[in-house]
């Protein structure tokens, strides 16, 4: 802003903004306060991540190789892990969306008191230890678990049902862990939605279903997309639940990485698998960002 422009402004505008020479040092400093975080994450997060990517392409003699990449692409055993991972993530995302949307809709449209109750029902499990929740599923659904004991006692089944240590167990556990990540972004968008809009559609003669499908649903899509992207990203990298509730046949990329390091000490290939996982997560994020914009997507990450 030069002098001529200031003169052209009305007097009240000039008075309300602080003098120019004062603003500059004030503006310059806040940026510097980020340095601590940049140095810390640069050393403990970015550096190790970049080193890991480097390993994926380093051959034992110190040169560059794509041997790990070709191994990943050519061997069928690894394809199975990728298929398992993505199948699990897709099913988890769909089930979370189906269970989460109606709940989020109710949270947004009900009375404040009922809303508080519903929010507590979502937030408490959200912050409860994943281990405690996995243990809960083992106690409930195990071979000699509570549900099986009840089913046997009631005579509904003759032999205990197998819920756990297969893909069903993984699926139940993952939906349980990731459902709040779906509900919260959808709810946030629905809360901001002007309730006058569906009312207007209704007063113009639309049925409740029609008002919902043509007004509410399209306006809440950004929340749904944010929830789906978030759940999918977290689902493809998930390690704890498949490891505790899955069986030997449910090998995901994450558990493959752990096997490579723990049992085989094959660091270069583990690094290649990690890279493929990061690329997948990045691709899902980019896809979401294209659909609804980065701002909305990262805004959905707030956990409160």
């Amino acid at each position: 802003m030069d002098g001529a422009e200031i003169v052209r402004q009305p007097a009240w505008m000039r008075q309300s903004s602080p003098p120019e020479q004062d603003r500059k040092p004030w503006r310059a400093r806040p940026g510097l306060m980020i340095l601590g975080a940049v140095v810390f994450l640069g050393a403990i997060y970015l550096l190790p991540m970049l080193t890991l990517i480097g390993w994926a392409f380093r051959d034992p003699k110190g040169g560059i190789t794509i041997a790990q990449a070709t191994r990943l692409v050519s061997e069928g055993a690894y394809h199975t892990a990728f298929i398992t991972t993505f199948r699990t993530a897709i099913i988890t995302t769909l089930v979370c969306a189906l269970l989460g949307y109606p709940l989020a809709y109710l949270m947004a449209t009900t009375s404040p008191r009922a809303r508080t109750l519903l929010i507590a029902g979502v937030i408490i499990p959200f912050w409860t230890s994943v281990l405690a929740r996995s243990l809960a599923w083992i106690i409930l659904l195990g071979k000699r678990g509570i549900i099986n004991e009840w089913l046997l006692a009631s005579g509904l089944v003759n032999a205990p049902l197998t819920f756990l240590f297969n893909s069903l167990g993984v699926q139940i556990g993952m939906v349980h862990v990731l459902l709040p990540f779906m509900v919260l972004p959808i709810w946030a968008v629905l809360m901001r939605l002007d309730q006058a809009l569906p009312s207007a559609a209704r007063s113009l003669g639309a049925s409740p279903a029609r008002a919902f499908i043509h007004v509410v649903l399209p306006l809440s899509l950004p929340g749904l997309v944010a929830g789906c992207v978030l759940v999918f990203m977290l689902a493809i990298g998930f390690y704890i639940t498949p490891a505790l509730l899955g069986g030997d046949r449910d090998i995901t990329i994450a558990s493959l990485i752990e096997m490579m390091v723990r049992d085989l000490l094959d660091w270069p290939f583990a690094a290649m698998l990690s890279l493929s996982l990061m690329v997948s997560v990045g691709a899902v994020f980019a896809f979401g960002a294209l659909l609804i914009g980065v701002e909305r997507l990262t805004g959905a990450e707030g956990r409160t």
């Binding site: 991540m49 269970l99 709940l103 405690a132 809960a136 990450e301």
Partner: protein, 274 residues
Amino acid sequence: MLPASRIIGIAWGRVGLWVFSSLVIIFLIAPILVVMIVSFNDTTLFEFPPVRWSLRWYGALLHSREWREAFSLSLWVAAVVTALALTVGVPAAYALARGQFLGRRLLEFVLISPMVVPVIVLALGLYALFARLGLIGRPAGLLMAHAVLALPVVIVIVGAAFRRVDAGVELAARACGASFPRAFWSVSLPSVRPALISAGAFAFLTSFDEVVLALFLGGPGATTLPKRIWEAIKFELDPSLTAISTLLVGLTLVALCVAELGRAKTSRETHEES
């Protein structure tokens, strides 16, 4: 006027929505409640509902040195992580909310990204780094690793709070002669106090409940509570686990209440002022 049949239709739709949502909430909450109830069993089986109630498994926890040590390690690691994440994260959140510099958006994205990077990948990268620095099995390594996860939590929560607060108040303090650090300390920080409290509570929980990094980086030397629980679920599955899980749920509730308390307090204060 709407025809009666249509009003009944809406009412039924509403009832259906409530029934469906209640079932979803039950799905979310019931397993946690069941573990808590089972923990008061007097038998070595996971009986539900318990035939005889007792505090036997809580006693077993108290008497086990292993559990006590894991608990206290987790507690102090989480406390230091919280302090670290707040000291580094709050200024960063402020810079992202108020500063205008090149690459601010990109930087914000990078600082928040640990939230979605698969933890197993982070664990692998940190294992390689810490192995070279001799930090495997040391609490110091765990502290730094957990801080990587806790930092984005602080930045997101406190950053959102700084954006809601009018920067004009800080400018007024500056115009009245306050130095920049003084304005930050006595005006900016108090104005986001509830966010600081919830960010602290959530940073604490993030570290206290973290499993994967603890498994990879803890080694035999630093067994946190989640690492101990993991091993117990995999190899022993004894009823003490239900007691420790109940304690974890209790701790979560305390942390959530602390976070909520901060928020309620400020909304009352602003209400009185207006």
